[in-house]
């Protein structure tokens, strides 16, 4: 991180409080992700779990460059985005646990975080699906005459969806206040960049659409911040959409069940050398901004904070069976809610009456209770995952366990 870059920042990194906030935000993401992985091994978390370990600087650099009123939208790898925007770790962890207290009330899971209050407009499981949404949000801000900018995060792999070109074109054509941030972690699942993209310098892909591109070092939070800050300024002030390519790397597999046969251990080790948290922390000490040892202390505090989040999630209740049909339709506000939710019998079923359905209108209570029992078998706050639980996510013989080898 050059001093030149620092001079351009609004947030003064020589202010220890600013430096602390950035570092804390990155460590929070790292420790959260590590624990989430452990909870997956204990079968507390199900489905696909995508961790952003190694990519923390792209998240924090981007978020620090945003104003509170700006919008952030991301992918299925978005626990960190939610946290950096201010979502409570308790509720993010509870979402992973599938509990009613989760940010999406347990309906979305790891891939579908959301926090409207903090203007985190969601993680989305469909690759490339969030780009048009982001442009729509930028359009809404523009339409309403507001000063807000939308930052849209997606992966290198996503840049091959048709939505990429279609959205960039429209954003430029209509001068929308949007920043496209492609986190180029060199792989879309197991497919290396050069095997999925003819033009591997992804920032150059914006040119043909009227969206200028820039690259930043996504392992360097300051460089990411500086680049994003300028991109956001252009989007806000000049109504010029910008494409930012953040060069980064995920240290872990694509999701939890990834044998990682598509890359070498040496490559992973090389990138780990550039750990964004280690290098930022070291630089702060070298520059005399933070005293030696403060980072360790901060780390300990954060680990405790995550312990609390795990305990909170583990003691939170699952959504009750009668809430199965909640949120399928809007029942409040302007909606008359007179529609039929299903076709169990003649007449129109009023949505608000769904909670009064007999239990026989749902799947068997036993299946519900069995799932709760399995979830409670392990103590989430115990230090090490047991072997039995570790085996659970991949044994798919005859029980209703996740499909063996499943990965997405």
């Amino acid at each position: 991180m050059g001093t030149e870059a620092q001079e351009m920042t609004n947030q003064d990194l020589s202010d220890p409080d600013v430096a602390r906030a950035w570092l804390r935000s990155m460590i929070l993401i790292r420790r959260f992700e590590e624990r989430a992985g452990e909870m997956y091994a204990k079968a507390k978390v199900g489905g696909f779990l995508h961790l952003a370990i190694g990519e923390e600087a792209t998240i924090v650099g981007a978020v620090q460059a945003m104003r509170d009123e700006d919008y952030l939208i991301s992918t299925y790898r978005s626990h960190g985005h939610a946290l950096a925007r201010g979502a409570n770790p308790d509720n993010v962890m509870a979402e992973l646990f599938g509990r009613e207290t989760g940010v999406s009330k347990g309906r979305g899971g790891s891939m579908h975080m959301f926090d409207f209050k903090n203007r985190f407009m969601g993680g989305y499981g469909i690759v490339g699906g969030n780009l048009p949404l982001a442009a729509g949000m930028a359009f809404a801000s523009d339409y309403k005459g507001l000063d807000e900018v939308t930052v849209c995060v997606f992966g290198d792999g996503a840049s091959n969806q048709g939505t990429f070109g279609e959205t960039l074109n429209l954003a430029a054509l209509w001068n929308l206040p949007i920043v496209f941030m492609v986190t180029n972690n060199q792989f879309g699942m197991g497919t290396a960049l050069a095997r999925h993209s003819a033009v591997t310098e992804l920032h150059k892909r914006g040119d043909g659409f009227g969206v200028p591109g820039v690259r930043c070092d996504g392992m360097d939070v300051v460089d990411t911040y500086t680049t994003m800050r300028e991109a956001i300024r252009r989007a806000r002030e000049e109504r010029q959409p910008v494409l930012v390519e953040a060069m980064t790397y995920r240290f872990r597999g694509h999701s939890m069940a990834d044998p990682e046969e598509y890359r070498t251990k040496e490559q992973v080790a090389e990138w780990r050398e550039r750990d964004p948290i280690v290098s930022f922390g070291r630089a702060l000490v070298e520059q005399g901004t933070l005293p030696d040892g403060e980072q360790d202390q901060m780390d300990q505090e954060i680990i405790k904070r995550i312990d609390d989040a795990v305990a909170f999630a583990d003691r939170s209740a699952f959504p009750p069976p009668e809430s199965l049909y909640d949120h399928v339709y809007v029942l409040e506000g302007d909606s008359d809610s007179w529609y039929s939710v299903d076709e169990r019998s003649a007449g129109v079923h009023r949505g608000e009456e769904e909670r009064n359905l007999p239990a026989s209108a749902r799947g068997p209570e036993d299946a519900y209770r069995d799932a709760v029992t399995v979830a409670e078998r392990e103590d989430a706050t115990a230090p090490k995952p047991t072997e039995e639980a570790q085996g659970a996510p991949s044994t798919a013989e005859s029980t209703e366990q996740p499909a063996q080898g499943g990965n997405g």
């Binding site: 489905g47 347990g106 891939m111 993209s197 069976p321 809430s323 036993d366 799932a371 499909a403």
Partner: protein
């Protein structure tokens, strides 16, 4: 007969058809170096090379469209879509082109394309990765739709699909990938489209089970026999287009009662369609309304206990069967 997993049976079908016919090639996201998200294409890149096993960018609409174009020129593409929800991105190419081209151009061109993909709930993949869309594809004239539920059918139907000159939507099930079953030996095991399998004979009630629900129906039939003295006939249609309605009607004429079990949504579902066909053609034989067991009418929740009560289990099938014996 050798016993193998459903996923390995699919792998064998691909391997045999690629050996048999050089025009057969595979296209899909992470099917090569990564060996497939669900490992169905495991080892095929190594054995057939990257001319015939193609890792693609994440571009569902385009790879399906390329499948259509290359099929028009005589290749026999097998496109893998990682999960059925992602096929929604390719619906344009599937319906406007794959299903339509032979008709629209007066029979001049053919689209011998296979699109394979898994579906199904139960693994907490949440509201964008867990659905069952066989009813939606079944709706489209010009497509063939297969929903194999056993290892043997997975292999035999996939081989038949690859050899067919029509576009085939080949729907696998994530839960079934790890299930084992007997598979006939040799490379000539084909299962004809439009031929249902009777999984269990019985005279009292007919249960039609779609995709994974065929095995759920079989479990329910055992319970009905043991606990309720009801002998159910279990039919797995195996393909929904064409649908072997004859086998279903024949069974209904014998049992006079029928329950259709599917994992997908109730409105406009497979069961809705089969119920309509039965009442049109065998109304006089029915002693009770056609009953349906379906997935819940909602996006699939992530939370495990909620997910568990959002798709059908054996007790619901038993209950639905019993309901056809009540209130007569």
């Amino acid at each position: 007969m050798p016993v193998m997993r459903y996923r390995d049976a699919l792998n064998e079908a691909l391997r045999e058809e690629m050996e048999r016919d050089e025009r057969v090639y595979l296209m899909g996201e992470d099917i090569g170096v990564f060996n497939g998200a669900f490992k169905v294409t495991s080892g095929l890149l190594k054995d057939f090379g990257d001319k015939r096993v193609r890792d693609t960018p994440i571009s569902e609409n385009t790879i399906v469209g390329m499948g259509v174009g290359s099929a028009m020129l005589g290749l026999r593409p097998v496109v893998e879509i990682m999960t059925i929800n992602f096929a929604l991105l390719a619906l344009d190419q599937v319906i406007n082109h794959a299903a339509t081209i032979h008709y629209m151009f007066g029979g001049q061109a053919r689209v011998p394309l296979v699109i394979r993909m898994p579906q199904g709930a139960g693994h907490q993949l949440g509201p964008t990765h867990s659905h069952c869309f066989e009813a939606m594809f079944m709706h489209v004239p010009g497509l063939l739709v297969a929903v194999p539920s056993t290892a043997a059918d997975a292999k035999g139907l996939l081989k038949a699909a690859i050899r067919d000159d029509n576009p085939v939507i080949f729907i696998e099930h994530e839960y079934l990938y790890g299930q084992r079953g007997e598979v006939p030996e040799g490379d000539d095991h084909l299962v004809e489209f439009g031929k249902a399998a009777i999984r269990r004979e019985g005279a009292d009630v007919t249960i039609v089970g779609i995709s994974r629900m065929a095995s759920t129906a079989e479990k329910a039939a055992k319970t009905l026999s043991q606990k309720h003295d009801i002998e159910a006939e279990v039919i797995d249609p195996r393909t929904l287009r064409p649908l072997d309605l004859d086998t279903i009607l024949e069974s209904v004429r014998k049992t006079n009662r029928v329950v259709v079990v599917e994992e997908g949504w109730p409105h406009g579902g497979v069961g809705a369609n089969i119920a309509a066909l039965i009442q049109e053609q065998a109304f006089d034989y029915l002693d009770a309304p056609v009953a349906r067991v379906t997935g819940a009418d909602l996006p699939m929740p992530y939370s495990k206990p909620l997910e568990q009560i959002a798709y059908p289990h054996e007790p619901q099938v038993v209950e639905a069967v019993l309901s056809t014996f009540r209130d007569l």
